[in-house]
Homo-oligomer: 307 residues x 2
Amino acid sequence: MAGFADRVIAASESKDSVLVVGLDPNVDYLPNVLAPTQESGRAVAEAISQFNRLVIDAVADHAVAVKPQLAYYEVYGSDGICALEDTIRYARSKGLLVVQDAKRGDIGPTASAYAQAYLHPSSPLCGDALTVNPLLGADGVNPFVEAAMQHATGIFVLVKTSNPSAGQWQDLIAADGGTLSQRIAAYIADIARNHRGEHGYSAIGAVVGSTYPQDALALRSIMPHSILLVPGLGAQGGRADDLTGYFDAQGQGALVSSSRGITYRYCAVTPEWKHATIDQVFASIREAALTSQRALNNARHQSQRIR
Amino acid sequence: MAGFADRVIAASESKDSVLVVGLDPNVDYLPNVLAPTQESGRAVAEAISQFNRLVIDAVADHAVAVKPQLAYYEVYGSDGICALEDTIRYARSKGLLVVQDAKRGDIGPTASAYAQAYLHPSSPLCGDALTVNPLLGADGVNPFVEAAMQHATGIFVLVKTSNPSAGQWQDLIAADGGTLSQRIAAYIADIARNHRGEHGYSAIGAVVGSTYPQDALALRSIMPHSILLVPGLGAQGGRADDLTGYFDAQGQGALVSSSRGITYRYCAVTPEWKHATIDQVFASIREAALTSQRALNNARHQSQRIR
């Protein structure tokens, strides 16, 4: 199997897309026809599975990957994790990559167990890539790197997150130079350089939020061999127009994720959304995905022109 | 219900213990009589549940809390999470606090979902406290603080972890003073000061690894109102003798966790451990817990003498 970065770029070229659709299920936003029939964890999990399948069908032609945000499954315990397992299987059967947004990070042996859970094909929770929190340093990150190399999966290490307080620690300036984000980026770059695939990119990527475009150019240049996973488009305030600096001169090198702005678009545009039909929900999600795909492609082409 | 810190101190006084037993199940270390009968995820999860119940019975008189390390459950997907749910229920029924060692951290809305999953009593994964990764800054930590306050649960924020590369980022010296660890500690202290319980401690605790005793005195004094969760005793090289600086003048203010050194002690001391009986395993775990309890109490008394 091709390495993760080459699979991303192949999917991106064949679909003409860099869109990732976040799967952050919230049953409060389901129309009556899709809402859980009971309050039990199992009924809620079943509703989440069904809704995610609908989303996957609606976005499969327009998105490269889906990105389940694990908190929204863990909140229903083992029932929620069953829904997540179903979602992973279904997405992969529809030709979508699966990026598990779990932000895991731990000491070495525990990081190895997380890597086994999310990056080893024998695990029921294995996707194509995992987001990783680097706060514990190299011996908390290396097990993920090793698993990614061994199983042709990938990781995205948190470098600059999309939230308002991201800079509280990530922008801390070190006495011997650089911000914490830049230091982490340089560390990632050293690993990525040694693991490049056919297209020059490595399976060792980085999260750089869409809400900090002024930081992206510097981080992009520190990490020339890392695909950037760019969250925060839409609901968090990131704008596709601002993303030119995240791409390389070929308009590649970044995957951009939008969640609620696509999956719950119908709540924003349809006053009577509680009574929406399945067909209406499907059409709304598909159109929102197409709109995001095109807006991102504009940013990619802009990036190709200015470089 | 009393706040988390007051519940910790009450349990610690009534059991004369500050010991936390880590539950990091690894079926390779189970004797034949406890090993899974099949390779299926469900059979493995069942074996983990049974072993954890044995550990809980063996340590309930000697430990204040158990600390499941979530990676070792996630590796078996939804089956593993079922085992975790069973373990949480059983531990609480035996009067043990449950610290979920999940190191979660995310942007605001997602952090709220994690807080709901681990700190809200209605969740099947709710314990008494959760470890939290602060890399995303205040809006990634606040939802956990709010949930802890609302539900009389607690958090332990990663300040200085126990692993060899902990210092790679955590010891980074900021241009305007202090290490990253110290800056995070000062931030935690500000929150904890406003949420003190009857004994002067807050539900907002901090993780400070047992392997860095030279840092502990400074971090202890920056965070006078935070209970320290101190991992790394035993297998990771931390020594009870080195821990005096983690406690306050009353010998309180820290919980010390040991995992493999207690739960798999029989593998180290019994050459024929694969053939050990349940009674032998139980006795070994109980004795290892008692030994750790006493060693930690010596460190606490030492701390009271020198202050």
